[in-house]
């Protein structure tokens, strides 16, 4: 409690705490209202600072926006790679392990505040800031997908999967695992824990149906648990 960086309570916050408070509020407002619709006064109010402080810290609206995107990108990438560290490289139960991994991925990187905000900003303003989002693309999906592909290649090498192209498999894994959440994402909603689990379960099953080593000679897929 040295610096008193408690949530948003009354006691005054430090210089740096205000900076992040402003960036956080700005992320929220930019997402809700769009870049053009975002109002600096509203951001300041939501951050609990005066308008002048916003300008002192970030110069102008555009610089603030760039700071927001960079901040979100950085945190999201950190989250993604942290989650990758939990990939089941030596699975005991491949299906269960992959489902758990997919759920973690969704919960910690895609459905959380940062993930939703960053996605929306990219979709809404990506075309207006080509170089900014090119940067995101290289550091985010670029690295992310290769890293995931490498994990799958390893699983295949170890005999757990039968994969043609690991890059394709990685992209399809992510697509499958989120297949049932698309509409919720589109409208900016947050899926429930149960929806995430169901989508991941169904997705991993299909993934393993296509890429898994057939071990059980019986019927390959019982009725899906989660309708």
């Amino acid at each position: 409690m040295k610096h008193g960086v408690s949530p948003d309570t009354f006691p005054p916050r430090s210089h740096e705490a205000k900076r992040v408070s402003v960036v956080d509020a700005a992320a929220s407002v930019f997402c809700r209202e769009g870049y053009a619709g975002a109002n600096i006064d509203l951001i300041a109010a939501e951050a609990g600072v005066s308008r002048q402080t916003v300008y002192n810290h970030h110069g102008d609206k555009e610089k603030l926006f760039v700071a927001v995107v960079r901040d979100l990108t950085e945190r999201c990438n950190a989250g993604i790679f942290a989650t990758f560290a939990t990939f089941p490289d030596q699975p005991t139960n491949l299906e269960a392990d992959l489902v758990a991994f997919a759920v973690r991925m969704n919960r910690n990187c895609i459905c959380n505040r940062d993930g939703r905000f960053l996605r929306k900003l990219i979709q809404a303003e990506g075309e207006r800031y080509p170089e900014l989002f090119a940067e995101w693309r290289e550091q985010g999906p670029g690295r992310t997908w290769s890293a995931l592909a490498a994990r799958f290649a390893r699983l295949a090498f170890a005999g757990h999967l039968s994969i043609g192209d690991p890059d394709v498999a990685a992209r399809q894994f992510l697509a499958l695992v989120n297949a049932e959440l698309q509409i919720t994402f589109m409208l900016g909603g947050v899926p429930t824990e149960e929806e995430v689990l169901r989508s991941a379960t169904n997705g991993v099953r299909t993934f393993l149906g296509a890429f898994g080593r057939k071990k059980s000679p019986a019927g390959k897929q019982a009725a899906l648990v989660h309708a």
Copy 2:
């Protein structure tokens, strides 16, 4: 050529032609600039009419926006169901037929002007107009997915596929077929014909790997053609 409804050339256009011209231009500008950033003067200029004409036809900015979304929704749904009519109910070569269907779907419904615009408007402004997009959701994805699920159920019944839950299969089919186009979509870009084909080919292969009837007892998947 009765009414001279040629593209955007000099000759004057009819009353109705101007209405659609305004809606089209508005769709373009709303997508590019966002609702708040869209400027009526710019829309008028892009439509080749005066600002007053925009107001005469549509009342105010918000009504114009609603008209745009309804228009796009209607046209997209029409395109989707027209494309569904070409679903391979009696496939001769299941893989090739599904790939061709997926490519048609992408080209005519998802990657075309209307599809891209509608998607972006939903993502950017969906939260601001809950009832408008709820309507889209019911008439669009709601019907779309059941219709596609029904087609897959039929294929399964006819012995071409081995499916647990047709609704899940339908969603996963769409997810797989677009798996490699996600980032392009996110940034508002238009994938090339080749990218669409590659994504569809890889997606259908995986789909059949999971849901297809195993006929060739040999290795189930050669190296993917399109890397």
